[in-house]
Amino acid sequence: MTREYILEAGYLFIMDKKTLIIGLGNPILTDDGVGVKVARELEEQINLEAHPELTITEASAGGLRLMEALLGYERVILIDAFYLNSESTTPGKIHHLSLDDLRSISPTQHSTSAHDTSLITALDTAEELGYQIPGEFSIYAVEVENILEFSETPTPAVAKAIPIVVSQILKEFSFTTH
């Protein structure tokens, strides 16, 4: 865990960086909500009293709205579904990405999107406008199978990945659990 130590008036303060865990997706659209389900599970397991620096939330927004939700945090742990829809996809496969990785798989800066821009464009926009964007990104993306059908239950392979992502995040950031 990243910590800053500040000596003030003879006392040593441990200042944890302000961290956001954000699960993305639609929890009622089969696999689309895998990120939300991971975030909810982390909220159950992490001892939040031991982590006053931590906020856990969920969002189904992309692009600008997501970027706005991230502003003000120094570190972001983002969990989302990764939809390839090709023969070579492996549902349940977990990708651990940096922001640069995300940038490299975003094929375009173009706003052909239905009603929003990509997160990358949104973050670039924020930077251009002089906003401080989070310095650290840890992105967990789970390959998914079905994001077009309404259901609260993920497909089996994706369901299996949920506890694995949860434990990877707990380990990566040494979060204290209950």
Partner: protein, 495 residues
């Protein structure tokens, strides 16, 4: 129909595909937009308590959860047969107006605007909000973000939660407004009015002052003469939250005006063998295919449609701009109302005027002496049976229809979402754009740009519930010959 195969790198969420079919001569015969449809919502909902619908349906879409929340809440009013009190209606409309300001802001600055601000022929990589900022300045970008921020704050304040509001109750609203909240909203609504006026000035300076753009807007390539749908108040003025649904014809005459519960008497859905989309049309006119004209039941439901279906706007500044809109675009007043404007690209201008109206309406409602009335949570006592609720979503009339058993458990659910209304006109606009650029089997440059402009003005919402990574939808166009063989694929992305 041949299934799409796409390189995995470009395979993204909410993929929209355009298919263009050529005839024997190699000219455009038909062009269609294929949108992946979400499946199984009805089955998902059946068996659940109806009062959960405002919170469930707002999950359908990550772009306009507020519109679904509101349509669902209004369907519950009807289902439980409980008339909301004036303060409830006003709080809901105030909340909804804040949503309109932010939604229309995004469209103009991030989506529709770049075509004009940067030009229709500019590099696609630049034609986004970032490009707009480079062109018009960082200050404007900050204003856009600030506008969104303050209105999301209002949405959270009144709706109980940031992205997916929770305040809607049958006949009520879970939270009344405090004096302090009113002060904040009054401040914000003035800022919204200023920002809307500023945006209209920008539209004047960049678009209307440029003859080439004006020519493009009024050009035949972007013109369709169809029926128009919109919700109007008792004076036939535009209202986003409530009223009767009015449909007017290509010549401007009113075809029909009905309460939303009668929608099934007036709207039917056309099924085509080549698409799983259903194309709504006007029953009173009938289906004649994807064609313009007074005999064709194709209708449109967009900001431009709301303008054409109404007699005016209920707030003073927006009304001024409404009149200027029609006068500038060459419309005449007949029997007290303007003849319709059919130029689809004018939708962008109408959208900005709607933003001004929403901002003014926010201010009016926040100033209303009744708005602080704390009695917002009535108890529904009637046995539920069936209810329809509708609102004007930013991208078209949105209708929710529920049936339940006597315990309020859902037995039947039907939704007509905003974009659905426009499936037929979108297909027509794409076809027209393609016709100009494909001749004798030769595809001319600029096809993708022109097609994008043609459909973007409808602000279509495609499977917007999903935001999986990488999180962006490329435009893909497939061109097929008379035998259905794929002869060309064009994609709008940068390697």
């Amino acid at each position: 129909m041949e299934r799409i195969t796409i390189d995995p790198i470009t395979r993204l969420e909410g993929h929209g595909k355009i298919e263009i079919f050529l005839n024997e001569e190699g000219n455009v015969k038909n062009a269609y937009l294929q949108i992946p449809e979400l499946r199984g919502f009805e089955q998902f909902s059946i068996g659940r308590p109806a009062e959960e619908m405002p919170r469930i349906t707002n999950r359908i879409c990550g772009v306009c959860p507020e519109a679904h929340h509101m349509a669902a809440t209004k369907a519950l009013d009807a289902l439980f047969d409980i008339e909301p009190s004036p303060v409830v209606k006003k709080l809901r409309e105030l909340f909804y107006s804040a949503f309109y300001v932010t939604d229309h802001t995004v469209h103009f600055y991030a989506l529709g605007g770049p075509d004009f601000v940067l030009g229709p022929d500019s590099n696609p990589a630049e034609r986004n909000i970032l490009g707009v900022i480079h062109k018009v300045g960082v200050d404007i970008g900050i204003q856009v973000i600030e506008c969104r921020k303050r209105n999301h704050e209002v949405i959270k304040m009144l709706g109980g939660r940031g992205v997916h509001p929770v305040a809607g109750l049958p006949g009520g609203w879970s939270k009344s407004m405090t004096k302090e909240e009113r002060e904040i909203i009054l401040d914000y609504s003035q800022k919204n009015i200023d920002f809307a006026l500023f945006s209209l000035k920008l539209f004047d300076d960049i678009v209307l002052a440029n003859q080439a753009y004006v020519d493009l807007i009024v050009s035949d390539a972007f013109t369709h003469k169809t029926y128009y749908m919109g919700t109007v108040d008792d004076k036939n003025l535009i209202n986003f939250y409530d009223g009767l649904i009015r449909v007017t014809g290509p010549e401007g005459a009113e075809l029909v005006k009905y309460p939303s519960k009668d929608y099934a008497q007036h709207i039917a859905e056309r099924v085509e063998p080549w698409s799983y989309l259903k194309f709504p049309y006007l029953k009173d006119v009938g289906w004649k295919g994807f064609v313009d004209g007074v005999d064709s039941g194709v209708y449109c439901a967009t900001p431009l449609s709301r303008f054409n279906a109404a007699d005016g706007m209920a707030t003073p500044k927006a009304q001024e701009h409404f009149e200027r809109f029609y006068e500038t675009l060459g419309s005449k007043k007949v029997d007290g109302r303007f003849t319709p404007v059919h130029h689809r690209l004018a939708t962008h201008w109408a959208r900005l005027i709607e933003m001004l109206y929403a901002a003014e309406r926010m201010q009016e409602l926040a100033n209303d002496p009744e708005i602080l009335d704390p009695n917002v949570r009535p108890i529904a006592t009637n046995t539920p049976t069936e209810g329809v609720g509708s609102v004007e979503a930013p991208r078209g009339t949105l209708t929710h229809h529920y049936k339940t058993d006597e315990n309020g458990i859902l037995t039947d659910v039907n939704l007509i979402v905003g974009t659905t209304n426009n499936y037929a006109p979108i297909a027509m606009s794409i076809k027209k754009a393609a016709e100009g650029l494909i001749k004798g089997g030769v595809v001319n440059e600029g096809l993708l740009n022109t097609i994008e402009m043609a459909f973007r003005n409808y602000d279509p919402c495609m499977s917007c519930a999903t935001h999986s990574l990488p999180g962006q939808m490329p435009l893909e166009v497939e061109i097929k010959d008379a035998d259905g063989n794929l002869i060309d694929t064009q994609r709008q992305y940068i390697d």
